[in-house]
Symmetry: C2
Amino acid sequence: MSEDRIATNLRKGVLEYCVLALLSHGEKYGLELADDLTSRELIASEGSLYPLLARMRENGLVEPRWDSSGTGRPRRYYAITDHGTEQLTTFAKVWTSLGAQVDALLEGSR
Amino acid sequence: MSEDRIATNLRKGVLEYCVLALLSHGEKYGLELADDLTSRELIASEGSLYPLLARMRENGLVEPRWDSSGTGRPRRYYAITDHGTEQLTTFAKVWTSLGAQVDALLEGSR
DNA sequence: ACAGTAACCTTGTATAGCAAGACTTGCAAT
DNA sequence: ATTGCAAGTCTTGCTATACAAGGTTACTGT
């Protein structure tokens, strides 16, 4: 199917803000985010997520924290920063506006 | 502004199908498409469009035709193919589904 | 000891949009 | 005629992103 290729390209630039939206409810760790995003079909593998989280860390959108208290391998929990919250708001505007344009085009092509 | 960077990434994978949607109403030439897409804020410059049209031509989504009949420099008119129409339909499904997921996340983050 | 698994991360690849500009053609002033 | 302008097509070099595949670390169960 070519649906995969279509979806892959659509995800570009969306994923970053989906992560921010998920974190706006409270901190989460990597695999937890990956599972959530996978079930929503917003990523195809962890290979997208970890490099993304590294970028977001560098850009100050999220703040990581190691937690070794539990059992098993230590988890790295991510929390959204103020800057991240601002960016999420900005994204919501751009997404709404661009989405409306695309919807209009698709609507008109039937 | 960082809105530009956000929009740039969002456009990836969308533009191709916006072109198909526009062509579903009848053939258009390059600059005509560029102007239309620019006014809808779906491209930032022609630099995105011509390489895209070349790809779409190679993939059999559009069929070009030179027209020197009018005044001025010859224009290359593009028409959508059957394959292009199919792809547009597939895209509409993926777009709707992915868009709903993103909307749900944004909705939940307020 | 050994396999399994949860969790983290890295490497290499393909692709898409963009800015800037080159090239060509016709037309309109001077 | 010649210069300049505008419309139109296309190219080059750049950056950023998602992905597949694989590798590492820590713990648990048998």
